[in-house]
């Protein structure tokens, strides 16, 4: 057990803190503007600022513009970013998912074309994994790609289908997409929860439909062999992006309608028919860092709630105090579990059960927190014009997006505890 930072890590942190103090919310960063487009542009600017400071891709190798940070340093980065009150960079999908995937699976041409514009936010990314009838069921992906002219070795793929839960699609240049290039749609079985595991981070990059479905049938991995992972250029008429309004009233996600959208063969990543593997191995390790961002944000929300409770006297109600203490405990558990998970990756090269546990615990805790806020804060927390009111509604998505809680539990049961498949 050693819960201290090395001098090098402390140096890294202090350097980052100094930079954030100058450029972040306490310094030059202006407050988030109203309006969806304005907010996006603001976050994109923020990413450019990060990139200029060399902080946009801390875990990327230095050769591709990153800082070559260790896992612990990456965790420190996200924790400090959250602590400073700064937002995540606009293209977190490009930085955490697309870039690392291309570094593992992309060929030289792909890497040369696509990597340089990610950190700078010159070109941003969205993700096309989830589908309306697939939800968490990767085997049910129905979007099809066919070669325009099978006899022409240079022929493009034409992609037709519908994707959901694509955030940032209206601004994205590229979409990382999974489409069926062979074999039948497996509408009837062979579920795996890969969509849940890989479909996106808890910030909303992906979401699963259907509350409890997981691995309903015996695993028949062959059914995934017809899938391919491709990079779609969003700048074409065959791609139709429609905002999908959430119950909060915000169009945080989009639906994507593809009608013979064109993808050159050169933009298939990791080989035709290999899409399941590419999507699955989209390094989960890097995303471990996000847990630190979420954890700090949770802690900050709790601190705000405690401060309010102290101001209005509600903290003197022992029942409220008991619930606040429980939230403290849970938030601290998330922090410690995140570190424990990082140790597991560092020591054994693979994540422990902490990923699904912290996702589940985080979403549940955040939901408890915003619900308690109604009892502590009062009318503001039910006002459509207040942050608490928004958070109360937004938090309901926490246990759905990025793999439902039910799926997290099933993953834990089957993969961690080794129970027989449901």
């Amino acid at each position: 057990m050693d819960l201290t930072f090395t001098p090098e890590q402390l140096t890294f942190r202090d350097e980052l803190r100094a930079w954030l103090a100058e450029h972040g919310p306490a310094g030059a960063l202006t407050p988030e503007p109203d309006g969806e487009d304005e907010s996006w542009e603001w976050r994109r600017e923020w990413q450019r600022t990060l990139a200029e400071g060399g902080w946009a891709g801390v875990h990327w190798p230095t050769e591709v513009g990153g800082r070559g940070a260790t896992l612990t340093e990456t965790a420190i980065f996200f924790e400090e970013l959250g602590r400073s009150g700064a937002p995540l960079p606009a293209d977190v999908l490009g930085i955490l998912l697309a870039g690392p995937t291309l570094m593992v699976w992309g060929d030289d041409a792909q890497q040369e074309r696509l990597l340089p514009t990610i950190l700078s936010a010159d070109e941003t990314w969205c993700q096309g994994f989830s589908e309306p009838d697939a939800g968490s069921d990767f085997a049910a992906v129905a979007t099809r790609a066919v070669l325009e002219d099978p006899d022409d070795p240079e022929s493009d793929w034409l992609v037709t289908g519908q994707k959901v839960w694509t955030s940032g699609a209206q601004y994205a240049k590229w979409c990382m997409l999974v489409a069926r290039t062979g074999g039948p749609v497996d509408a009837g079985s062979a579920g795996t929860d890969v969509a849940a595991a890989a479909a996106g981070a808890a910030t909303g990059a992906g979401a699963a439909t259907g509350a409890a479905a997981t691995g309903a049938a015996k695993a028949r991995p062959k059914k995934h062999q017809g899938l391919s992972y491709m990079v779609l250029d969003m700048e074409q008429d065959e791609v139709d992006v429609r905002p999908l309004v959430q119950l909060t009233g915000s169009p945080e996600f989009n639906e994507l309608f593809l009608t013979e959208a064109r993808v050159p063969q050169s933009m298939v990543v990791g080989g035709v028919g290999n899409g399941w593997k590419v999507a699955l191995t989209t390094l989960m390790n890097e995303r471990a860092g996000l847990a630190f961002f979420l954890q700090v944000r949770l802690r900050q929300a709790l601190d705000r709630l405690v401060a309010t409770a102290r101001e209005n006297g509600r903290s003197e109600d022992p029942v409220v105090a008991d619930r606040l203490a429980d939230l403290h405990l849970r938030t601290e558990a998330i922090r410690l579990m995140a570190w424990k998970g990082l140790t597991a990756i560092e020591q054994y090269g693979q994540p422990g059960p902490e990923g699904s546990l912290t996702k589940w615990l985080w979403s549940e805790t955040n939901q408890l927190l915003v619900q308690l806020a109604v009892d502590v804060v009062g009318a503001d927390a039910l006002s459509g014009e207040d942050r608490w009111g928004y958070e109360l509604l937004r938090a309901r998505g926490n246990s759905i997006e990025g793999g439902t809680t039910e799926i997290q539990k099933s993953i834990i049961a089957e993969r961690v505890l080794g129970l027989p498949r449901a």
Binding site: S130, G135, S136, D137, A140, V164, W165, A187, G188, S189, A190, G191, A207, A208, T209, G210, A211, A212, A213, T214, G215, A216, A217, L244, V245, Q246, L247, G249, V319, Q367, Q371, V374, D375, G378, A379, L382, S383, G384, E385, G389, L392, L393, R396, G397, S399, I400, E401, T404, T405, E406, K409, A422
Partner: protein, 379 residues
């Protein structure tokens, strides 16, 4: 001993359900809410309350619903709290965009705690629906449905202290956009009512003097509980319908045990809220009907606990059942397209209105020492 609505009450409830099925569909609700969001042009229409279905509102008034539990001498229909709850449940089931809770609860409070003069002044106007009302506690714990400057406002003390009645135009309600967009809400920022201090010019003590209150606000809480019963029943019905049809991994989602058990929990929460609510409503009506003074006193002593249990159970169910409905709908449940969010938002406001579950559990704890075990009496 018959724990079920009477034939007449069932008839009233069925009629309400039929009418609202025709008039208050979710499609209609979407239109109403969308209209409310339109920026006004020209002179604002003062008669129009954002998020409110004006046509349905006036139809309900015409049909006499607003006055259903108001005595006939004040222009109402003189029915009981059970009847009012049976209708309110249906309005909750429909998430009807009408100023219902505020007006009906205000009438109950005036009727059961007001002076003769106060009843005379206000009940007939509330019964006809021409006057809106609103009821809340001090402390600004919740956006108050119906609270507008043109409404009659009843502000009680959550711990049973004296309550105040504010005539329209008192200037204590400020409009607010609540998370629930399906009716008008206002904020009433009165931290507490001090019997030593003068009230607002348009305010007067409920019952004439600053004395402890209860029976009106208890009945009001039961009506809010009834709306929550309807809201949660709808959440359950929609969820059951959805998970029966929706397939994943080649099976209906509703055949997964986690979904089954989640739905069973929803049913249990709704069922608990329902029995507590109708029990409390029945006790209230039994108080009114009691001819024997001792019997009336015994039942009146039961009402606060029964009402607190109803509101505690319904508030808890309101939060958990609507949250479960979103969850069991999966990703689609988190969208504006799916109609479950109307239920979630209505339930969140109602759960806090006139005291959340924790508040009412405190009341139960404080009173269960003094109240004997409930025991059915002769009819």
């Amino acid at each position: 001993m018959r724990f079920e609505l009477s034939e007449d009450q069932q008839e009233i409830q069925r009629a309400a359900r039929d009418l609202l099925a025709a008039r208050a569909s979710f499609a209609r609700l979407r239109t109403v809410v969308a209209e409310a969001d339109v920026e006004p042009t020209g002179m604002p229409d003062l008669a129009r309350v954002p998020g409110e279905d004006a046509a349905l509102t006036s139809e309900l008034a015409t049909l006499g619903w607003t006055g259903i539990a108001i005595p006939e001498e004040h222009g109402g229909q003189g029915l009981g709290l059970v009847d009012l709850c049976a209708i309110t449940e249906e309005l909750g089931y429909a998430v009807a965009a009408v100023p219902w809770l505020g007006t009906t609860t205000a009438a109950l409070v005036v009727q059961h705690e007001g002076t003769e003069q106060q009843r005379e002044d206000w009940l007939s106007h509330l019964a006809s629906g021409e006057l809106r009302g609103a009821t809340t506690f001090t402390g600004d714990r919740v956006p108050v449905p119906g609270a507008a400057d043109a409404a009659l406002l009843l502000v009680g003390d959550p711990d049973g202290g004296p309550a105040a009645l504010y005539a329209p135009g008192a200037g204590i309600a400020e409009p607010v956009r609540a998370i629930d967009p399906t009716r008008g809400h206002g904020r009433i920022r009165i931290p507490e009512l001090d019997p030593e201090e003068e009230l607002n010019m348009r305010g007067e003590w409920l019952g004439g003097t600053p004395t402890p209150t209860g029976p009106g606000f208890d009945r009001a809480a039961v009506v809010v509980a009834a709306e929550l019963v309807g809201v949660t029943q709808r959440a359950l019905d929609m969820t059951v319908a959805y998970v029966r049809e929706r397939k994943q991994f080649g099976r209906p989602v509703g055949s997964f045990q986690a979904v089954q058990h989640g739905a069973a929990q929803m049913l249990r929460d709704v069922a608990m809220a329902r029995v507590m609510t109708y029990n409390a409503a029945w006790v209230a009506d039994a108080v009114d009907a009691a001819e024997d003074e001792a019997e009336r006193a015994r039942l009146a002593a039961e009402l606060p606990v029964a009402a607190a249990m109803a509101k505690a159970a319904a508030s808890d169910a309101g939060r958990t059942v609507t949250a479960a409905a979103v969850q069991l709908h999966g990703g689609i449940g988190f969208t504006w397209e799916a109609d479950v969010h109307w239920l979630l938002k209505r339930a969140q406001v109602d759960a806090a209105l006139l005291g959340a579950a924790g508040h009412h559990r405190r009341r139960i704890a404080a009173r269960t020492s003094a109240v004997p075990v409930v025991e059915p009496a002769a009819d």
